[in-house]
Symmetry: C2
Protein backbone atom coordinates (compact mmCIF):
# COMPACT_ATOMS: atom_id res chain seq x y z
CA UNK A 1 0.00 0.00 0.00
CA UNK A 2 0.98 3.65 -0.28
CA UNK A 3 2.83 5.17 2.61
CA UNK A 4 1.03 7.44 5.06
CA UNK A 5 2.07 10.56 7.01
CA UNK A 6 2.07 11.20 10.75
CA UNK A 7 1.16 14.60 12.14
CA UNK A 8 1.88 15.67 15.71
CA UNK A 9 0.57 18.84 17.36
CA UNK A 10 2.51 19.45 20.57
CA UNK A 11 0.51 21.77 22.82
CA UNK A 12 0.81 22.70 26.48
CA UNK A 13 -2.29 20.67 27.40
CA UNK A 14 -2.63 17.94 24.76
CA UNK A 15 -0.43 16.11 22.30
CA UNK A 16 -2.59 15.47 19.25
CA UNK A 17 -1.61 12.97 16.61
CA UNK A 18 -3.11 12.00 13.26
CA UNK A 19 -2.44 9.70 10.34
CA UNK A 20 -3.07 11.06 6.88
CA UNK A 21 -2.79 9.64 3.41
CA UNK A 22 -0.27 11.48 1.25
CA UNK A 23 -3.14 13.23 -0.51
CA UNK A 24 -4.37 14.60 2.80
CA UNK A 25 -7.16 12.26 3.86
CA UNK A 26 -7.46 11.96 7.63
CA UNK A 27 -7.22 8.23 8.46
CA UNK A 28 -6.99 8.28 12.25
CA UNK A 29 -6.49 10.66 15.14
CA UNK A 30 -5.68 10.52 18.81
CA UNK A 31 -4.76 12.74 21.74
CA UNK A 32 -2.99 12.36 25.07
CA UNK A 33 -2.58 14.84 27.95
CA UNK A 34 0.86 16.44 27.54
CA UNK A 35 1.85 16.08 31.23
CA UNK A 36 3.99 19.14 30.70
CA UNK A 37 4.68 19.48 34.42
CA UNK A 38 6.55 16.15 34.47
CA UNK A 39 9.31 17.63 32.34
CA UNK A 40 11.07 16.94 29.06
CA UNK A 41 11.57 13.17 29.19
CA UNK A 42 7.99 12.51 30.26
CA UNK A 43 6.65 14.66 27.42
CA UNK A 44 8.88 12.91 24.88
CA UNK A 45 7.39 9.62 26.10
CA UNK A 46 3.87 11.02 25.72
CA UNK A 47 4.66 12.08 22.14
CA UNK A 48 5.90 8.56 21.37
CA UNK A 49 2.89 6.89 22.97
CA UNK A 50 0.46 9.20 21.16
CA UNK A 51 2.26 8.46 17.91
CA UNK A 52 2.32 4.68 18.34
CA UNK A 53 -1.33 4.62 19.36
CA UNK A 54 -2.51 6.52 16.30
CA UNK A 55 -0.32 4.43 13.99
CA UNK A 56 -1.82 1.24 15.49
CA UNK A 57 -5.36 2.57 15.36
CA UNK A 58 -4.90 3.15 11.62
CA UNK A 59 -3.80 -0.48 11.32
CA UNK A 60 -0.29 0.55 10.31
CA UNK A 61 3.29 -0.04 11.42
CA UNK A 62 6.01 2.61 11.71
CA UNK A 63 7.50 1.34 8.46
CA UNK A 64 4.28 2.38 6.70
CA UNK A 65 4.87 6.04 7.62
CA UNK A 66 6.89 8.04 5.07
CA UNK A 67 7.33 11.19 7.14
CA UNK A 68 6.27 12.82 10.39
CA UNK A 69 5.58 16.50 11.01
CA UNK A 70 5.66 18.05 14.49
CA UNK A 71 4.02 21.40 15.12
CA UNK A 72 5.15 23.18 18.29
CA UNK A 73 4.72 26.69 19.66
CA UNK A 74 8.44 27.46 19.83
CA UNK A 75 10.55 29.56 19.42
CA UNK A 76 12.24 26.91 17.31
CA UNK A 77 14.38 26.36 14.23
CA UNK A 78 12.31 24.56 11.61
CA UNK A 79 15.38 23.75 9.54
CA UNK A 80 17.51 22.06 12.21
CA UNK A 81 14.53 20.70 14.15
CA UNK A 82 15.67 22.32 17.41
CA UNK A 83 13.14 23.68 19.91
CA UNK A 84 14.71 26.61 21.79
CA UNK A 85 12.05 26.86 24.49
CA UNK A 86 8.36 26.05 24.84
CA UNK A 87 6.04 28.38 26.70
CA UNK A 88 4.23 26.45 29.46
CA UNK A 89 6.51 23.40 29.10
CA UNK A 90 9.22 23.45 31.79
CA UNK A 91 12.58 21.84 31.08
CA UNK A 92 12.62 22.45 27.34
CA UNK A 93 15.83 24.19 26.36
CA UNK A 94 17.51 23.73 22.96
CA UNK A 95 15.95 20.30 22.42
CA UNK A 96 16.75 18.64 19.06
CA UNK A 97 13.16 17.41 18.87
CA UNK A 98 13.29 16.53 15.17
CA UNK A 99 16.34 14.32 15.61
CA UNK A 100 15.08 12.72 18.85
CA UNK A 101 11.73 11.78 17.36
CA UNK A 102 13.26 10.63 14.06
CA UNK A 103 15.42 8.31 16.13
CA UNK A 104 12.72 7.04 18.47
CA UNK A 105 10.05 6.52 15.82
CA UNK A 106 12.35 5.43 13.02
CA UNK A 107 10.57 7.96 10.76
CA UNK A 108 12.01 11.17 9.26
CA UNK A 109 10.57 13.95 11.46
CA UNK A 110 10.20 17.61 10.48
CA UNK A 111 9.62 20.44 12.94
CA UNK A 112 7.32 23.36 12.22
CA UNK A 113 6.06 26.45 14.05
CA UNK A 114 2.49 25.59 15.13
CA UNK A 115 0.91 28.72 13.61
CA UNK A 116 2.58 27.94 10.29
CA UNK A 117 1.45 24.31 10.52
CA UNK A 118 -2.16 25.40 11.06
CA UNK A 119 -1.85 27.81 8.13
CA UNK A 120 -0.55 25.06 5.88
CA UNK A 121 -3.32 22.74 7.08
CA UNK A 122 -6.04 25.17 6.04
CA UNK A 123 -4.24 25.81 2.76
CA UNK A 124 -3.80 22.12 1.97
CA UNK A 125 -7.04 20.57 3.16
CA UNK A 126 -9.20 23.32 4.64
CA UNK A 127 -10.80 26.61 3.64
CA UNK A 128 -7.74 27.67 1.65
CA UNK A 129 -8.08 24.89 -0.91
CA UNK A 130 -7.89 26.20 -4.44
CA UNK A 131 -5.80 29.24 -3.49
CA UNK A 132 -2.11 29.62 -4.30
CA UNK A 133 -1.71 32.60 -1.96
CA UNK A 134 -3.40 32.65 1.42
CA UNK A 135 -3.24 34.40 4.77
CA UNK A 136 -4.46 32.79 7.99
CA UNK A 137 -5.44 34.75 11.09
CA UNK A 138 -6.13 32.76 14.25
CA UNK A 139 -8.26 34.86 16.58
CA UNK A 140 -7.70 33.60 20.11
CA UNK A 141 -6.11 34.99 23.27
CA UNK A 142 -3.50 36.33 20.88
CA UNK A 143 -3.66 36.79 17.13
CA UNK A 144 -1.58 34.16 15.36
CA UNK A 145 -1.01 34.02 11.69
CA UNK A 146 0.62 32.49 8.70
CA UNK A 147 1.06 33.21 5.02
CA UNK A 148 1.31 30.97 1.97
CA UNK A 149 2.94 32.46 -1.14
CA UNK A 150 2.63 30.54 -4.41
CA UNK A 151 1.93 27.31 -2.59
CA UNK A 152 4.77 27.54 -0.06
CA UNK A 153 4.78 28.70 3.55
CA UNK A 154 6.35 32.14 3.96
CA UNK A 155 9.05 31.53 6.58
CA UNK A 156 11.98 33.88 6.04
CA UNK A 157 15.56 33.05 7.04
CA UNK A 158 14.67 32.71 10.73
CA UNK A 159 11.27 31.12 10.24
CA UNK A 160 9.58 34.09 11.96
CA UNK A 161 7.71 35.50 8.94
CA UNK A 162 3.93 35.79 8.97
CA UNK A 163 3.55 37.54 12.35
CA UNK A 164 0.30 39.15 11.28
CA UNK A 165 -0.74 39.85 14.87
CA UNK A 166 2.19 42.21 15.30
CA UNK A 167 1.41 44.41 12.36
CA UNK A 168 0.94 47.92 13.74
CA UNK A 169 -2.29 49.57 12.62
CA UNK A 170 -2.34 52.50 15.07
CA UNK A 171 0.90 54.32 15.80
CA UNK A 172 0.29 55.25 19.41
CA UNK A 173 -2.27 52.55 20.01
CA UNK A 174 -2.78 49.99 22.75
CA UNK A 175 0.37 48.55 24.35
CA UNK A 176 1.10 45.00 23.14
CA UNK A 177 2.81 42.16 24.96
CA UNK A 178 5.57 42.33 22.32
CA UNK A 179 6.63 45.76 23.58
CA UNK A 180 5.23 47.75 20.65
CA UNK A 181 2.00 49.74 20.52
CA UNK A 182 -1.03 49.42 18.27
CA UNK A 183 -0.40 45.86 17.04
CA UNK A 184 -3.43 44.29 15.34
CA UNK A 185 -3.46 41.71 18.15
CA UNK A 186 -4.34 44.38 20.70
CA UNK A 187 -7.61 45.11 18.83
CA UNK A 188 -8.45 41.98 16.85
CA UNK A 189 -7.78 39.11 19.29
CA UNK A 190 -10.31 37.91 21.85
CA UNK A 191 -8.25 39.81 24.42
CA UNK A 192 -8.59 42.93 22.28
CA UNK A 193 -12.32 42.43 21.92
CA UNK A 194 -12.73 42.06 25.69
CA UNK A 195 -10.70 45.19 26.20
CA UNK A 196 -12.87 47.12 23.77
CA UNK A 197 -15.93 45.92 25.69
CA UNK A 198 -14.41 46.83 29.02
CA UNK A 199 -13.45 50.32 27.88
CA UNK A 200 -17.01 50.90 26.72
CA UNK A 201 -18.52 49.62 29.95
CA UNK A 202 -16.15 51.69 32.04
CA UNK A 203 -17.17 54.63 29.88
CA UNK A 204 -20.76 54.07 30.92
CA UNK A 205 -22.25 52.18 27.97
CA UNK A 206 -25.54 50.45 28.77
CA UNK A 207 -25.37 46.70 28.31
CA UNK A 208 -26.56 43.40 29.75
CA UNK A 209 -22.85 42.61 30.10
CA UNK A 210 -22.83 44.61 33.34
CA UNK A 211 -24.99 41.99 35.02
CA UNK A 212 -23.33 39.07 33.30
CA UNK A 213 -20.06 39.84 35.01
CA UNK A 214 -21.55 41.27 38.22
CA UNK A 215 -19.87 44.60 37.52
CA UNK A 216 -16.45 42.91 37.85
CA UNK A 217 -14.79 43.62 34.50
CA UNK A 218 -12.08 41.04 35.21
CA UNK A 219 -14.76 38.38 34.73
CA UNK A 220 -15.61 39.60 31.24
CA UNK A 221 -14.93 37.05 28.47
CA UNK A 222 -15.21 36.90 24.72
CA UNK A 223 -17.91 34.27 25.00
CA UNK A 224 -19.97 36.61 27.22
CA UNK A 225 -19.76 39.36 24.63
CA UNK A 226 -20.65 36.95 21.86
CA UNK A 227 -23.63 35.53 23.78
CA UNK A 228 -24.86 38.99 24.73
CA UNK A 229 -24.69 40.07 21.08
CA UNK A 230 -26.65 37.00 20.04
CA UNK A 231 -29.25 37.78 22.68
CA UNK A 232 -29.70 41.20 21.10
CA UNK A 233 -27.49 43.40 23.27
CA UNK A 234 -26.73 46.45 21.12
CA UNK A 235 -23.48 47.37 22.89
CA UNK A 236 -22.08 43.82 22.63
CA UNK A 237 -22.99 43.84 18.95
CA UNK A 238 -21.13 47.11 18.51
CA UNK A 239 -18.06 45.70 20.26
CA UNK A 240 -17.92 42.80 17.80
CA UNK A 241 -18.46 45.22 14.94
CA UNK A 242 -15.58 47.43 16.10
CA UNK A 243 -13.34 44.37 16.43
CA UNK A 244 -14.32 43.35 12.90
CA UNK A 245 -13.44 46.82 11.60
CA UNK A 246 -9.97 46.60 13.11
CA UNK A 247 -9.51 43.14 11.61
CA UNK A 248 -10.78 44.42 8.25
CA UNK A 249 -8.17 47.16 8.37
CA UNK A 250 -5.38 44.68 9.09
CA UNK A 251 -6.66 42.38 6.36
CA UNK A 252 -6.74 45.31 3.89
CA UNK A 253 -3.00 45.67 4.55
CA UNK A 254 -2.54 41.97 3.81
CA UNK A 255 -4.52 42.28 0.56
CA UNK A 256 -2.32 45.19 -0.56
CA UNK A 257 0.87 43.39 0.42
CA UNK A 258 0.14 39.80 -0.68
CA UNK A 259 -2.77 40.00 -3.19
CA UNK A 260 -3.99 36.60 -1.89
CA UNK A 261 -6.90 34.63 -3.31
CA UNK A 262 -8.07 33.77 0.20
CA UNK A 263 -7.89 35.07 3.74
CA UNK A 264 -8.91 32.42 6.27
CA UNK A 265 -10.02 33.27 9.80
CA UNK A 266 -9.75 30.67 12.55
CA UNK A 267 -10.11 30.50 16.32
CA UNK A 268 -12.93 30.71 18.79
CA UNK A 269 -14.03 34.20 17.78
CA UNK A 270 -15.27 33.13 14.34
CA UNK A 271 -18.29 31.54 16.03
CA UNK A 272 -19.68 35.08 16.06
CA UNK A 273 -20.41 34.51 12.37
CA UNK A 274 -21.75 37.29 10.18
CA UNK A 275 -21.81 39.76 13.08
CA UNK A 276 -18.02 39.58 12.84
CA UNK A 277 -17.48 38.72 9.18
CA UNK A 278 -19.70 41.44 7.77
CA UNK A 279 -17.70 44.40 9.18
CA UNK A 280 -14.46 42.55 8.37
CA UNK A 281 -15.39 42.11 4.70
CA UNK A 282 -16.90 45.59 4.44
CA UNK A 283 -13.85 47.32 5.90
CA UNK A 284 -11.27 45.22 4.05
CA UNK A 285 -12.99 45.70 0.70
CA UNK A 286 -13.49 49.42 1.17
CA UNK A 287 -9.96 50.00 2.44
CA UNK A 288 -7.77 47.85 0.17
CA UNK A 289 -6.92 48.76 -3.41
CA UNK A 290 -9.62 47.73 -5.89
CA UNK A 291 -7.91 44.84 -7.69
CA UNK A 292 -6.70 42.89 -4.62
CA UNK A 293 -9.98 43.70 -2.83
CA UNK A 294 -11.96 42.15 -5.68
CA UNK A 295 -9.69 39.11 -5.76
CA UNK A 296 -9.72 38.00 -2.12
CA UNK A 297 -12.32 35.81 -0.45
CA UNK A 298 -12.46 36.20 3.33
CA UNK A 299 -13.71 32.91 4.77
CA UNK A 300 -13.94 30.97 8.05
CA UNK A 301 -11.50 28.12 8.62
CA UNK A 302 -12.60 24.62 7.70
CA UNK A 303 -10.56 22.27 9.87
CA UNK A 304 -11.23 23.58 13.38
CA UNK A 305 -8.97 21.99 15.99
CA UNK A 306 -7.48 19.61 13.41
CA UNK A 307 -5.72 22.29 11.34
CA UNK A 308 -2.47 22.01 13.32
CA UNK A 309 -2.06 18.27 13.16
CA UNK A 310 -3.14 18.06 9.50
CA UNK A 311 -0.85 20.94 8.58
CA UNK A 312 2.10 19.43 10.45
CA UNK A 313 1.63 16.27 8.40
CA UNK A 314 1.26 18.27 5.18
CA UNK A 315 4.41 20.32 5.80
CA UNK A 316 6.34 17.13 6.53
CA UNK A 317 5.11 15.51 3.34
CA UNK A 318 6.03 18.58 1.30
CA UNK A 319 9.53 18.72 2.78
CA UNK A 320 10.02 14.95 2.49
CA UNK A 321 8.88 14.96 -1.15
CA UNK A 322 11.26 17.76 -2.04
CA UNK A 323 14.08 15.71 -0.54
CA UNK B 1 29.53 35.18 -27.85
CA UNK B 2 26.99 34.84 -25.06
CA UNK B 3 23.63 36.45 -25.57
CA UNK B 4 22.77 39.71 -23.83
CA UNK B 5 19.55 41.12 -22.34
CA UNK B 6 17.70 44.32 -23.16
CA UNK B 7 16.00 46.34 -20.43
CA UNK B 8 13.45 49.08 -21.13
CA UNK B 9 12.09 51.51 -18.54
CA UNK B 10 9.02 53.23 -19.97
CA UNK B 11 8.35 56.44 -18.06
CA UNK B 12 6.15 59.45 -18.73
CA UNK B 13 9.17 61.65 -19.51
CA UNK B 14 11.93 59.31 -20.71
CA UNK B 15 12.27 55.88 -22.23
CA UNK B 16 15.45 54.40 -20.81
CA UNK B 17 17.12 51.39 -22.34
CA UNK B 18 20.10 49.28 -21.34
CA UNK B 19 22.01 46.22 -22.48
CA UNK B 20 23.17 43.80 -19.80
CA UNK B 21 25.12 40.59 -19.85
CA UNK B 22 23.13 37.63 -18.53
CA UNK B 23 25.07 37.88 -15.26
CA UNK B 24 23.91 41.46 -14.83
CA UNK B 25 26.81 43.57 -16.08
CA UNK B 26 25.66 46.88 -17.57
CA UNK B 27 27.13 47.04 -21.10
CA UNK B 28 25.38 50.09 -22.55
CA UNK B 29 22.57 52.50 -21.79
CA UNK B 30 20.57 55.15 -23.55
CA UNK B 31 17.51 57.35 -23.13
CA UNK B 32 15.05 59.18 -25.38
CA UNK B 33 12.26 61.64 -24.51
CA UNK B 34 9.02 59.63 -24.38
CA UNK B 35 6.99 62.13 -26.45
CA UNK B 36 3.96 60.89 -24.53
CA UNK B 37 1.78 63.69 -25.85
CA UNK B 38 2.11 62.37 -29.42
CA UNK B 39 0.12 59.26 -28.50
CA UNK B 40 0.51 55.50 -28.62
CA UNK B 41 2.10 54.94 -32.03
CA UNK B 42 4.67 57.67 -31.55
CA UNK B 43 5.69 56.25 -28.16
CA UNK B 44 5.98 52.74 -29.60
CA UNK B 45 8.35 54.18 -32.22
CA UNK B 46 10.38 55.90 -29.50
CA UNK B 47 10.68 52.61 -27.62
CA UNK B 48 11.93 50.91 -30.79
CA UNK B 49 14.41 53.67 -31.58
CA UNK B 50 15.73 53.72 -28.01
CA UNK B 51 16.11 49.94 -28.16
CA UNK B 52 17.89 49.84 -31.52
CA UNK B 53 20.23 52.65 -30.50
CA UNK B 54 21.34 50.92 -27.30
CA UNK B 55 21.75 47.59 -29.10
CA UNK B 56 23.95 49.29 -31.71
CA UNK B 57 25.95 51.22 -29.15
CA UNK B 58 26.80 47.91 -27.48
CA UNK B 59 28.03 46.66 -30.86
CA UNK B 60 25.27 44.05 -31.03
CA UNK B 61 22.47 43.00 -33.38
CA UNK B 62 18.93 42.09 -32.32
CA UNK B 63 19.81 38.43 -32.81
CA UNK B 64 22.37 38.78 -29.99
CA UNK B 65 19.62 39.64 -27.49
CA UNK B 66 18.09 36.66 -25.68
CA UNK B 67 15.25 38.49 -23.97
CA UNK B 68 13.86 41.96 -23.36
CA UNK B 69 12.15 43.24 -20.20
CA UNK B 70 9.88 46.27 -20.20
CA UNK B 71 9.06 48.05 -16.95
CA UNK B 72 5.99 50.30 -17.10
CA UNK B 73 3.88 52.07 -14.47
CA UNK B 74 0.65 50.29 -15.38
CA UNK B 75 -1.87 49.06 -14.31
CA UNK B 76 -0.87 46.10 -16.45
CA UNK B 77 -0.91 42.32 -16.65
CA UNK B 78 2.64 41.03 -16.38
CA UNK B 79 1.61 37.54 -17.51
CA UNK B 80 -0.14 38.49 -20.76
CA UNK B 81 1.99 41.57 -21.42
CA UNK B 82 -1.03 43.85 -21.69
CA UNK B 83 -0.88 47.45 -20.45
CA UNK B 84 -4.38 48.50 -19.31
CA UNK B 85 -3.62 52.21 -19.00
CA UNK B 86 -0.57 54.39 -18.35
CA UNK B 87 -0.82 57.45 -16.12
CA UNK B 88 0.43 60.53 -18.03
CA UNK B 89 0.48 58.68 -21.37
CA UNK B 90 -2.66 59.48 -23.38
CA UNK B 91 -4.02 56.91 -25.84
CA UNK B 92 -2.85 53.83 -23.98
CA UNK B 93 -5.79 51.49 -23.45
CA UNK B 94 -5.42 47.68 -23.28
CA UNK B 95 -2.22 47.69 -25.33
CA UNK B 96 -0.55 44.27 -25.81
CA UNK B 97 2.85 45.89 -25.35
CA UNK B 98 4.72 42.63 -24.78
CA UNK B 99 3.44 41.12 -28.04
CA UNK B 100 3.92 44.34 -30.05
CA UNK B 101 7.51 44.78 -28.95
CA UNK B 102 8.32 41.07 -29.33
CA UNK B 103 7.12 41.39 -32.91
CA UNK B 104 8.85 44.66 -33.73
CA UNK B 105 12.19 43.81 -32.14
CA UNK B 106 12.19 40.09 -32.95
CA UNK B 107 13.09 39.45 -29.30
CA UNK B 108 10.93 37.76 -26.64
CA UNK B 109 9.63 40.67 -24.52
CA UNK B 110 8.36 40.44 -20.94
CA UNK B 111 6.30 43.12 -19.22
CA UNK B 112 6.74 44.07 -15.59
CA UNK B 113 5.30 46.62 -13.17
CA UNK B 114 7.98 49.33 -12.87
CA UNK B 115 8.11 49.23 -9.06
CA UNK B 116 8.62 45.48 -9.16
CA UNK B 117 11.28 45.88 -11.83
CA UNK B 118 13.18 48.38 -9.67
CA UNK B 119 12.85 46.03 -6.70
CA UNK B 120 14.25 43.13 -8.69
CA UNK B 121 17.06 45.37 -9.98
CA UNK B 122 18.22 46.22 -6.46
CA UNK B 123 17.85 42.57 -5.45
CA UNK B 124 19.81 41.27 -8.43
CA UNK B 125 22.57 43.83 -8.85
CA UNK B 126 22.11 46.54 -6.23
CA UNK B 127 21.96 46.91 -2.46
CA UNK B 128 19.92 43.73 -2.06
CA UNK B 129 22.66 41.44 -3.32
CA UNK B 130 23.25 38.52 -0.98
CA UNK B 131 19.70 38.56 0.38
CA UNK B 132 17.08 35.94 -0.47
CA UNK B 133 14.25 38.03 0.99
CA UNK B 134 14.11 41.78 0.46
CA UNK B 135 11.71 44.70 0.63
CA UNK B 136 12.19 47.86 -1.42
CA UNK B 137 10.63 51.20 -0.53
CA UNK B 138 10.93 53.98 -3.09
CA UNK B 139 10.45 57.32 -1.35
CA UNK B 140 9.28 59.82 -3.94
CA UNK B 141 6.10 61.79 -4.58
CA UNK B 142 4.39 58.54 -3.61
CA UNK B 143 5.77 55.54 -1.78
CA UNK B 144 6.34 52.64 -4.15
CA UNK B 145 7.48 49.23 -3.15
CA UNK B 146 8.29 45.70 -3.98
CA UNK B 147 9.05 42.47 -2.18
CA UNK B 148 11.28 39.52 -3.05
CA UNK B 149 10.53 36.21 -1.30
CA UNK B 150 13.11 33.42 -1.58
CA UNK B 151 14.61 34.97 -4.67
CA UNK B 152 11.37 35.59 -6.56
CA UNK B 153 9.29 38.74 -6.93
CA UNK B 154 6.12 38.63 -4.82
CA UNK B 155 3.39 39.30 -7.39
CA UNK B 156 0.17 37.59 -6.39
CA UNK B 157 -2.44 36.40 -8.89
CA UNK B 158 -3.09 39.94 -10.19
CA UNK B 159 0.49 41.17 -9.97
CA UNK B 160 -0.53 43.83 -7.43
CA UNK B 161 1.32 42.46 -4.39
CA UNK B 162 3.96 44.54 -2.64
CA UNK B 163 1.96 47.76 -2.28
CA UNK B 164 3.94 48.79 0.78
CA UNK B 165 2.89 52.44 0.45
CA UNK B 166 -0.73 51.50 1.09
CA UNK B 167 -0.15 49.70 4.34
CA UNK B 168 -2.21 51.51 6.96
CA UNK B 169 -0.25 52.49 10.04
CA UNK B 170 -2.75 54.91 11.60
CA UNK B 171 -6.43 54.00 11.56
CA UNK B 172 -7.92 57.46 11.23
CA UNK B 173 -4.81 59.03 9.78
CA UNK B 174 -4.19 61.28 6.82
CA UNK B 175 -6.38 60.78 3.75
CA UNK B 176 -4.56 58.97 0.96
CA UNK B 177 -5.04 59.24 -2.79
CA UNK B 178 -6.13 55.58 -2.78
CA UNK B 179 -9.25 56.47 -0.79
CA UNK B 180 -8.09 54.99 2.50
CA UNK B 181 -6.70 56.83 5.53
CA UNK B 182 -3.39 56.53 7.31
CA UNK B 183 -1.44 54.76 4.55
CA UNK B 184 2.33 54.77 5.08
CA UNK B 185 2.60 56.84 1.88
CA UNK B 186 0.81 59.78 3.52
CA UNK B 187 3.59 60.04 6.13
CA UNK B 188 6.70 58.48 4.60
CA UNK B 189 6.74 59.81 1.02
CA UNK B 190 8.22 63.18 0.06
CA UNK B 191 4.65 64.44 -0.13
CA UNK B 192 4.09 63.19 3.42
CA UNK B 193 7.28 64.83 4.63
CA UNK B 194 6.27 68.16 3.08
CA UNK B 195 2.86 67.87 4.70
CA UNK B 196 4.45 67.22 8.09
CA UNK B 197 6.58 70.33 7.59
CA UNK B 198 3.63 72.41 6.49
CA UNK B 199 1.51 71.33 9.46
CA UNK B 200 4.31 72.34 11.79
CA UNK B 201 4.83 75.70 10.12
CA UNK B 202 1.11 76.42 10.13
CA UNK B 203 1.18 75.50 13.81
CA UNK B 204 3.72 78.26 14.38
CA UNK B 205 7.02 76.34 14.50
CA UNK B 206 10.08 78.57 14.06
CA UNK B 207 12.14 77.65 11.02
CA UNK B 208 14.21 79.12 8.20
CA UNK B 209 11.73 77.33 5.93
CA UNK B 210 9.35 80.27 6.38
CA UNK B 211 11.68 82.54 4.43
CA UNK B 212 12.71 79.88 1.95
CA UNK B 213 9.17 79.63 0.65
CA UNK B 214 8.23 83.27 1.27
CA UNK B 215 5.46 82.18 3.61
CA UNK B 216 3.70 80.42 0.71
CA UNK B 217 3.43 76.82 1.88
CA UNK B 218 2.52 75.66 -1.61
CA UNK B 219 6.11 76.38 -2.57
CA UNK B 220 7.49 74.07 0.09
CA UNK B 221 9.46 71.07 -1.29
CA UNK B 222 11.25 68.07 0.11
CA UNK B 223 14.56 69.43 -1.12
CA UNK B 224 13.95 72.67 0.83
CA UNK B 225 13.37 70.71 4.02
CA UNK B 226 16.43 68.59 3.40
CA UNK B 227 18.64 71.62 2.68
CA UNK B 228 17.32 73.49 5.70
CA UNK B 229 18.08 70.46 7.91
CA UNK B 230 21.60 70.28 6.52
CA UNK B 231 22.04 73.99 7.22
CA UNK B 232 21.19 73.30 10.86
CA UNK B 233 17.51 74.18 11.00
CA UNK B 234 16.16 72.32 14.04
CA UNK B 235 12.57 72.18 12.85
CA UNK B 236 13.53 70.80 9.43
CA UNK B 237 15.67 68.19 11.18
CA UNK B 238 12.71 67.22 13.34
CA UNK B 239 10.46 66.88 10.28
CA UNK B 240 12.90 64.41 8.72
CA UNK B 241 13.17 62.59 12.03
CA UNK B 242 9.37 62.26 12.29
CA UNK B 243 9.21 61.00 8.70
CA UNK B 244 11.91 58.46 9.57
CA UNK B 245 9.92 57.29 12.59
CA UNK B 246 6.85 56.65 10.43
CA UNK B 247 8.97 54.78 7.93
CA UNK B 248 10.57 52.78 10.76
CA UNK B 249 7.12 51.80 11.95
CA UNK B 250 6.09 50.61 8.48
CA UNK B 251 9.37 48.76 8.09
CA UNK B 252 8.84 47.06 11.49
CA UNK B 253 5.61 45.66 10.04
CA UNK B 254 7.55 44.37 7.04
CA UNK B 255 10.16 42.74 9.30
CA UNK B 256 7.42 40.97 11.26
CA UNK B 257 5.61 39.87 8.11
CA UNK B 258 8.51 38.94 5.81
CA UNK B 259 11.57 38.41 8.07
CA UNK B 260 13.77 39.77 5.25
CA UNK B 261 17.56 39.91 5.29
CA UNK B 262 17.47 43.37 3.73
CA UNK B 263 15.23 46.40 3.44
CA UNK B 264 16.38 48.75 0.69
CA UNK B 265 15.34 52.40 0.54
CA UNK B 266 15.42 54.27 -2.76
CA UNK B 267 14.25 57.60 -4.16
CA UNK B 268 15.27 61.22 -3.77
CA UNK B 269 14.62 61.33 -0.04
CA UNK B 270 17.50 59.00 0.85
CA UNK B 271 19.91 61.85 0.10
CA UNK B 272 19.02 63.04 3.63
CA UNK B 273 21.39 60.26 4.79
CA UNK B 274 21.76 59.45 8.47
CA UNK B 275 19.32 62.19 9.49
CA UNK B 276 16.69 59.95 7.91
CA UNK B 277 18.24 56.48 8.32
CA UNK B 278 18.98 56.80 12.02
CA UNK B 279 15.35 57.26 13.17
CA UNK B 280 14.26 54.62 10.63
CA UNK B 281 16.66 52.00 11.99
CA UNK B 282 16.04 52.99 15.60
CA UNK B 283 12.25 52.79 15.28
CA UNK B 284 12.20 49.62 13.18
CA UNK B 285 14.57 47.78 15.52
CA UNK B 286 12.77 48.86 18.66
CA UNK B 287 9.32 48.11 17.25
CA UNK B 288 9.75 44.80 15.41
CA UNK B 289 10.07 41.44 17.17
CA UNK B 290 13.63 40.69 18.31
CA UNK B 291 14.62 37.95 15.87
CA UNK B 292 13.53 39.64 12.62
CA UNK B 293 14.81 43.00 13.94
CA UNK B 294 18.26 41.49 14.50
CA UNK B 295 18.24 39.87 11.06
CA UNK B 296 17.38 42.80 8.79
CA UNK B 297 19.81 45.33 7.40
CA UNK B 298 18.20 48.62 6.37
CA UNK B 299 20.29 50.13 3.59
CA UNK B 300 20.19 52.78 0.85
CA UNK B 301 19.66 51.62 -2.74
CA UNK B 302 22.72 51.06 -4.88
CA UNK B 303 21.57 51.53 -8.47
CA UNK B 304 19.96 54.97 -8.41
CA UNK B 305 18.07 55.78 -11.60
CA UNK B 306 19.27 52.55 -13.24
CA UNK B 307 17.36 50.18 -10.95
CA UNK B 308 14.30 50.07 -13.20
CA UNK B 309 16.06 49.32 -16.45
CA UNK B 310 18.44 46.80 -14.87
CA UNK B 311 15.58 45.12 -13.03
CA UNK B 312 13.42 44.95 -16.15
CA UNK B 313 16.28 43.12 -17.89
CA UNK B 314 16.79 40.85 -14.86
CA UNK B 315 13.12 39.92 -14.65
CA UNK B 316 13.09 39.15 -18.37
CA UNK B 317 16.15 36.96 -18.06
CA UNK B 318 14.66 35.10 -15.11
CA UNK B 319 11.38 34.48 -16.94
CA UNK B 320 13.13 33.58 -20.22
CA UNK B 321 15.47 31.13 -18.41
CA UNK B 322 12.57 29.41 -16.70
CA UNK B 323 10.92 28.93 -20.09
Amino acid sequence: MDKAILGIDLGGTFVKTAILSTDGKLLAKHEEPTQAIDGLDAVLDVICVASQKVISSAGLANSDIAACGIGAPGPLDWRSGIVFTLTNLPGWKDVPLGAIMSDRLGIPCYLENDANAACYGEFWRGAGQGARNMCLLTLGTGLGGGVVVEGALLRGPDGTAGEIGHMIVERNGRPCGCGAQGCLETYGSVTGLVRTAREGLEGGEASALRERCDGDWDKLTGVMVSEAAEAGDAFAHEVIRTTGEWLGLGIANLLNLFNPEKVVLAGGMIKAGETLFQPIRETATRTALDVPAARAEIVPAGLGENAGVIGAAGCAWERFSQG
